[in-house]
């Protein structure tokens, strides 16, 4: 009897986990499905396959510059946040654990704050205080603020279990600190670093609020979506949304694969 109850209980937990997983995945799947659906209404049943919404999207004048801006910003944010975050993590892994934890807590504050607060604070400071023109550089700066804590956390947690003896050996054999890093540390933690970079990439691709306040003129994909949702409810939005999902979910997917199988 108790055995049967235990099995029943386990089934219950599994059903709960499965339901939540469906809850988390289904809306995104629906957006993708509707982007290929003939009917202009987002309701079931699906009425047939079409690529018209993509054709419409690709012929939209504002689409290509927005895509280009998104890709430039995301690529630079990924590269810069990985460089900066890895450097910081390398040091943090070597100071006393309590100090490292305190420093990480400080640098993670932007992760916990609403993007609206970060966005308007940056905008008002740049515009009024230092008269910095808004544009892609300020967007990149904004994204670095929210992406670097993720990179630091990911690389730091890899370095916590890192066997420093191999670096010591290289140093004892006469390698400079830089050389030891490039030939010993880097190859070992490379999968983690690539994973962290891809996460930074998807954070940047995904961000709307900070971009909205710091870009001045011009668009990235999310700000373009914002404009489209406000003015129309046309399935072209499903097509651009699918593209965004593909880019950001794709890079998160790759990040998880890379770090699971090697790191």
């Amino acid at each position: 009897m108790t055995r049967a109850l235990a099995i029943l209980e386990e089934m219950g937990w599994r059903a709960f986990a499965l339901l939540l997983a469906i809850f988390m995945g289904a809306p995104l799947v629906l957006v993708v499905l509707f982007s290929f659906n003939k009917s202009a209404l987002t309701s079931l049943p699906l009425t047939g396959f079409t690529l018209d919404w993509y054709r419409k999207l690709f012929s939209l004048g504002a689409f290509w510059p927005a895509l280009w801006n998104s890709l430039i910003v995301a690529a630079l944010v990924a590269v810069l946040s990985v460089a900066v975050g890895t450097m910081a993590a390398l040091l943090l892994a070597r100071v006393a654990p309590r100090r490292a934890e305190a420093l990480i807590a400080v640098v993670s504050v932007p992760m916990m704050l609403p993007a609206l607060v970060i966005g308007v604070a940056m905008m008002s400071c740049f515009v009024r205080l230092i008269d910095l023109p808004l544009g892609l550089p300020t967007v990149i700066l904004g994204h670095l603020v929210i992406a670097q804590p993720f990179v630091i956390l990911i690389v730091f947690s890899r370095l916590v279990t890192f066997d420093w003896a191999v670096v010591d050996s290289a140093r004892d054999l006469g390698a400079s600190p830089l050389r030891a890093f490039l030939t010993v540390t880097l190859p070992i933690i490379r999968p983690t670093i690539i994973g962290a970079g891809l996460i930074a990439l998807s954070i940047s691709l995904d961000d709307f609020v900070i971009t909205f306040f710091t870009i001045g003129a011009g668009n990235t994909l999310p700000t373009l979506v914002w404009g489209m949702v406000r003015t129309s409810l046309d399935p072209t939005i499903n097509a651009i949304a699918t593209l965004l999902i593909l880019l950001s979910v794709g890079s998160t997917f790759l990040a998880l694969r890379v770090s699971r199988y090697h790191g």
Binding site: E10, W13, R14, F16, A17, L18, L20, A21, F23, M24, G25, P27, L28, L30, L41, T42, S43, L44, A83, V84, M87, A88, L91, R94, V95, P97, V107, V109, M112, P114, L116, V117, I118, V120, A121, M122, S124, C125, R128, L141, G142, V145, I152, R171, P177, L205, D206, D207, F208, P222, V225, W226, V229, A241, L244, S248, V249, T252, F253, L256
Partner: protein
């Protein structure tokens, strides 16, 4: 950890990250705090030292503030409980399904903030899939209007958005708990609730706190969700954003933002204290 040789502790490694943090985050935030004491005359912002923006936040927006905090509390609790249940089920009850289910949750982490809100807008509408499904299943006879453009829409959409972020820290803590310890407690006669209260929850306290704080603060400052799916659900984020897009009253917006953040943080700290006293004893 062994103490590392001195040549390795090269403090300059932290410099670029610290520069970004200070120049692009801490300094702007400080400036933003300073202007909350400024005043606006004829649409021009003037340096001042006044509390009138804070007073106006209280007198003009106390109802929006109260409803924002209430919604943030509901979403914070809902998200944290669901995330805890999900992480618990994954870690201890799902066996070989643990990895694929976790993968599914994490993959949606950055699946597009706007895209997610937009997806729910089309799911929750009068002609949306949820109403279609409920009608088809015979649960309702008339389509529900209260799903979209209401508090319900905000709660569903934001819980959906925050859930994977909340799973992450709690699951991280749970990974450190050995199933053997739980089995030993069960063998010694501890019930399901005793195991949760005495073993699992204490070891996940930090993760639970991070998940709840994150969900609470993000909700308290969100303006996109209420605007898209919230209809009349007037939240502080919405009014703060208006000060920058329409009102051109930055000092007012700043005072509102800092008031919301300060009250939210105070509430979160208070709740953590209560949680520790009541549940962890």
């Amino acid at each position: 950890m062994l103490k590392r040789p001195a040549w390795e502790r090269q403090n300059w490694l932290l410099l670029p990250a610290a520069l970004i943090f200070i120049c692009a985050f801490a300094a702007p935030l400080l400036y933003f705090l300073v202007i909350s004491f400024w005043s606006v005359r004829a649409r021009i912002m003037r340096p001042d030292l006044t509390l009138k923006n804070y007073i106006a936040t209280w007198t003009d927006y106390y109802d929006a503030m109260a409803s924002t905090l209430l919604i943030a509390l509901v979403i914070g609790l809902l998200t944290t409980i669901l995330a805890f249940g999900f992480a618990y089920a994954l870690r201890f009850k799902c066996g070989r399904f643990e990895a694929p289910l976790l993968f599914l949750a994490l993959i949606t982490l950055f699946g597009g903030y706007l895209v997610k809100i937009y997806a729910w807008k089309s799911i929750l509408g009068r002609e949306g899939i949820l109403n279609q499904f409920l009608l088809w299943a015979g649960i309702i006879d008339e389509p529900l209007d209260a799903l979209l453009y209401s508090v319900n829409g905000v709660i569903i959409t934001l819980t959906y958005f925050l859930l994977p972020f909340a799973v992450l820290p709690i699951y991280g803590n749970m990974r450190a708990i050995a199933p053997a310890g739980i089995e030993a407690a069960r063998d010694l006669g501890a019930g399901q609730w005793a195991v949760l209260r005495d073993i699992v929850i204490p070891q996940c306290e930090k993760g639970i706190f991070i998940a709840f704080t994150f969900a609470f603060l993000i909700t308290a400052g969100d303006y996109v969700t209420p605007r898209f799916v919230g209809g009349g659900a007037a939240m502080m984020g919405h009014f703060i954003e208006l000060q920058f897009s329409l009102g051109f009253n930055w000092p007012m917006g700043s005072a509102m933002a800092f008031t919301v953040m300060a009250i939210s943080l105070a509430l979160v700290v208070l709740l953590r204290g209560l949680f520790r006293r009541r549940i962890l004893r």
